[in-house]
Symmetry: D2
């Protein structure tokens, strides 16, 4: 941690900063070459990090407090030197595997979902998605079938032998969703819903955590830290696009560089969602392929038996034919990359 003093700071103000650092049992280090910067070269416990930043930042003459070390611990590659593989009913999320999650945005009916799942399976994917509780920007949009939808997911998952994943939107709903699905999805808008993160962690179920649209890497991994701190290591990260510079052509900006970054700093598996990442069906395939070669451990793809009749997000859903073609292309690339798919 480095404390930068203002240009106008008096030497006594720097002394007061040193005093405050010592008051926390730490040793300050004057960095004379930089204009009145004071470093804390020793270890700062995570519990102290945030309050110490506030305390030092509030002292007169301080310009700002800059962190040097990373704020996450359990999520870091430093804490656990081996990459984590999350295994759900034999399906692996982690290095050496490229796992595709397919399926519609929303569960609309047994018929629609069963059809979708059959097509997911026929194309060679082993995990099916489908929303029963839908976080919709507008209260006037379709909100999902709720528990009825979860029952359909469970039934169809069993019938087809597919692993299932569905979104949970609040801590209180975790128990119910956990009863029906294999993997709990936490959506981008809920990435900093801390009560939800804690409940999902406590459930012991595998968790699929999407990056929030304005989340930095540190914020993303700290959200992961909430889950991990409940002794739940069954956690999968998902890049799904960040706040776009240009909303005219795509819905979000898919930040594919976050994949090698996350893989370097964290041991957790990383998937990519090019459907939300672009919002446009015809850009999904090229970006899914890019996700594979950039090093992701899989992708989540929206596919609908009949996109033009979808109750939500039809414009980003692939048709079953497009999904099949993409799966075939991915298999060729996976072979080149030496990844199992």
């Amino acid at each position: 941690m480095i404390v930068l003093m203002q240009f106008s700071a008096a030497p006594e103000q720097a002394d007061a900063v040193c005093e405050a650092i010592r008051g926390q049992g730490l040793e300050p280090l004057l960095m004379p070459g930089e204009h009145m910067a004071i470093g804390i070269p020793s270890f700062i416990p995570p519990e102290l990090r945030s309050s110490l930043e506030g305390v030092l930042g509030s002292l007169p003459g301080v310009s700002r407090v800059q962190h040097v070390s990373r704020p996450y611990k359990l999520a870091s590659m430093e804490w656990k030197r081996q990459p984590t593989t999350v295994e759900v009913k034999g399906v692996k999320f982690g290095p050496g595997h490229f796992t595709v999650i397919g399926g519609p945005c929303s569960v609309e009916s047994y018929a629609q979902y069963s059809k979708a799942a059959k097509m997911v399976k026929a194309a060679g994917a082993k995990v099916v998605r489908g929303g029963a509780f839908k976080p919709r920007t507008s209260p006037y949009a379709f909100q999902g079938l709720a528990e009825e939808g979860l029952k359909i997911i469970k039934q169809v998952g069993e019938e087809e032998g597919l692993v299932t994943v569905s979104e949970v939107m609040s801590g209180e709903a975790v128990a119910m969703v956990a009863k029906y699905v294999d993997i709990l999805q936490i959506g981008a808008r809920s990435m900093q819903n801390f009560p939800l993160l804690i409940e999902a962690g406590r459930s012991g179920k595998p968790v699929f955590l999407k990056r929030g649209p304005s989340a930095t890497i540190d914020e993303f991994l700290l959200a992961a830290e909430y889950v991990l701190s409940q002794n739940n290591e069954e956690l999968i990260l998902c890049e799904r696009g960040i706040v776009p510079l240009d909303r005219s052509y795509t819905r979000n900006t898919l930040d594919l560089a976050s994949v090698p970054v996350l893989k370097e700093y964290s041991h957790l598996p990383v998937l990519v969602d090019p459907s939300h990442g672009t919002g446009v069906a015809r850009y999904v395939a090229p970006l899914a392929k890019a996700a594979l070669v950039v090093g992701a451990d899989g992708v989540m793809i929206e596919m609908h038996p009949d996109p033009k009749s979808a109750l939500s997000d039809g414009s980003q859903a692939l048709t079953p034919e497009q999904f099949k073609m993409l799966m075939d292309d991915l298999k060729v690339l996976a072979k080149v990359q030496g990844t199992v798919m």
Copy 2:
């Protein structure tokens, strides 16, 4: 709504779009001057808006679907032509009034909170803030006193005759928080926590809704719409800074232009939070004053009896003396602007 066709679209694809529009009981309009654009000049019910976008967007040859009208209804100035004033125990949030909410980031103890509230009152403010449930980016940071904190808020509010506001982080906690405080705050990270928005709306309590860091104006007003759609019109909006271009000097980018924009398009009162908006105590006063002259109906200011001992966000908290000086400056400006304070 306008459907733009791709450059490569065939005439039959445009026909299919027209057909799909007619299938919804609407009339398409070819716009020959623009390259194959198809408009829907008639009224589109809010319930149809989102699914229609998906349906048309999924058709072959469609480049994108562009909305023309605004997606919110109850929050709009069109729906309710008079500005709304939310009145809580005699304190008014709305045009002609400039209402200051002051107080610490977190309730830390009865002594600390009581001291803070007395200072808020002494400076002339009528509403005291204070967090009992704290949404913290890191699980290692102070998380608040929970119900114990709410009890302190209630007691101190009554002792000092101040209106109280505190954050609620989940739908299930609404009932408990509503029991103790006058105004339910929904934080920036929870702006799209839809179950929470609905519960807060149902509570009948006044709601103080902060803009999310990546929220567009439409997304912000649609979040408001969730509350309003529960027949709760006691809603106050708060601009608190958006995702920053430059994190080196401020924590967020305070978007003050959103104030006149929101006041033009919505009837709801709008406050500004320059404490989170900048994250730096010494920039709070100038931006609070700017909020006043730009037309905000008030500000929320973090003030701590002793910022350097604060358990959270010390570096953005004013001292009681700074808060008093700011209040005095605001009063002078309020007089110039013809606003009651």
Copy 3:
């Protein structure tokens, strides 16, 4: 073009808008379903587009003016239905080819540049980059060897039989740079240096245009339009990263989705620069491979014979060995994609 009226607009104000539209020889269309929106369904000449927007936008009661059609013409796939291939001394930039540009950030000496070029060639690339005029954020950073550097580029290019590309930073310098190099690079910071774009267009030389860090797709293609409007079709676009959400891990956010977007809306070839796009040497290879499968026509890669002695941008430069490995990986993927490399 659609004119949206304010909620408070009077019918006479809408009439005045219609009158102003008719005054330009165009026909207004009332869109009754949308709250007082007025469309112009007929063709709007590009010359009229911008001033008409200003005129209508300044009328009382107007909320905003929304474009429907795309603002670019010569750069659009609509204008020229076949993709453009730019050929320079037998090297092709365009569909079916994946062309790699390699070389150091700056030309530092004949020895350094000759060594770099030999390694570029040995790895199988045919185009060598190298800056003689360097746009540096700080005036204290190395600014390049100027004309001396250009002479080195020319000499080395001829010795090794490589096509050369180098940046030009001002309109007045175009003639000089054009004398020595095969392709004129216009850097991201100069994307809207309009006098430079015009001079580069007039030079008749092939132009390599990088996207500016805050440029939307429309702004990027309008910058291209400046070059094309000088009757110069030898234009190559380059995505190199946009303004980052998170500066802690990468220097920019590489927007790979812009590749399929640009390829759909424009006929121009599109390359990707993952070196500036990430700013971190160890992320360059995965993102270069992602660029290939996402459909780019090539990549520009910084490679330095000895990155740790580089006078600029050393931390994003590959070593010759890393460059060679990347080339080999790209060749395998190019084969899979059916692209010549």
Copy 4:
């Protein structure tokens, strides 16, 4: 400067970093508490800063290089402890003064510009703006009257006794523009046109430098540094809005917090341009007033005798009546703030 090692870094890699630091005549400091961080506590000359970052960043095992000190020198408040006041023909830009620049986006004719200037003067402003060379996003938009426009500016400035400011778009045009106008404006798109910055610096003329849409504070002040390093201290900074989160309601996001930030870290005067900052005439007045109370040294306001006939940017121009009203409001606020206007 702090060098952060990767989690996987070997001790020998940290040794190599220390060696490289010593090779530059500097002393490394191991920071044991942070995971393998190596600081350089001594002074780093500006000339070394950028190349050293590259050198260290390119070493194996290095995660990233983090600056602690600010990169600018001449622009900093540390270098020159007193705020700078730029005085042009008796008009002061600096602390204690609030200076308004008014006038149309473009010079369209002598009649239009003379009328505009008379209205600027009648409202009490002393500086008139007007573009003769217009940087337009589209090549089809009005590009300005060029030298003919400059002649009109000079004549009208003299007739009305107003100080004049006009944009220059390239280094080669500096001499010509400098012949006719009092202050050289460098537009947002040219903020990193380094040859232009150097030429403007050399001209000895006062320079009005706008912040680029994606420029951080450091990048902005480094652009200022280019001008200052030519021994030209007659430099005025201007905040004009940064890349917007939401383009639907405003054209840019006006970053008013940048005013107190710039005033703290730099000695240079800071103005605000709410016309480009919002792009909407009806939001200009509230944001101009906010600029005054936030501590800006003035504002630049677009005003046109007849906005609806303007050849450029009509929708953000005030009418003469609106401009006069704003001037009157600003005068009242200036009195409250104790500023001369």
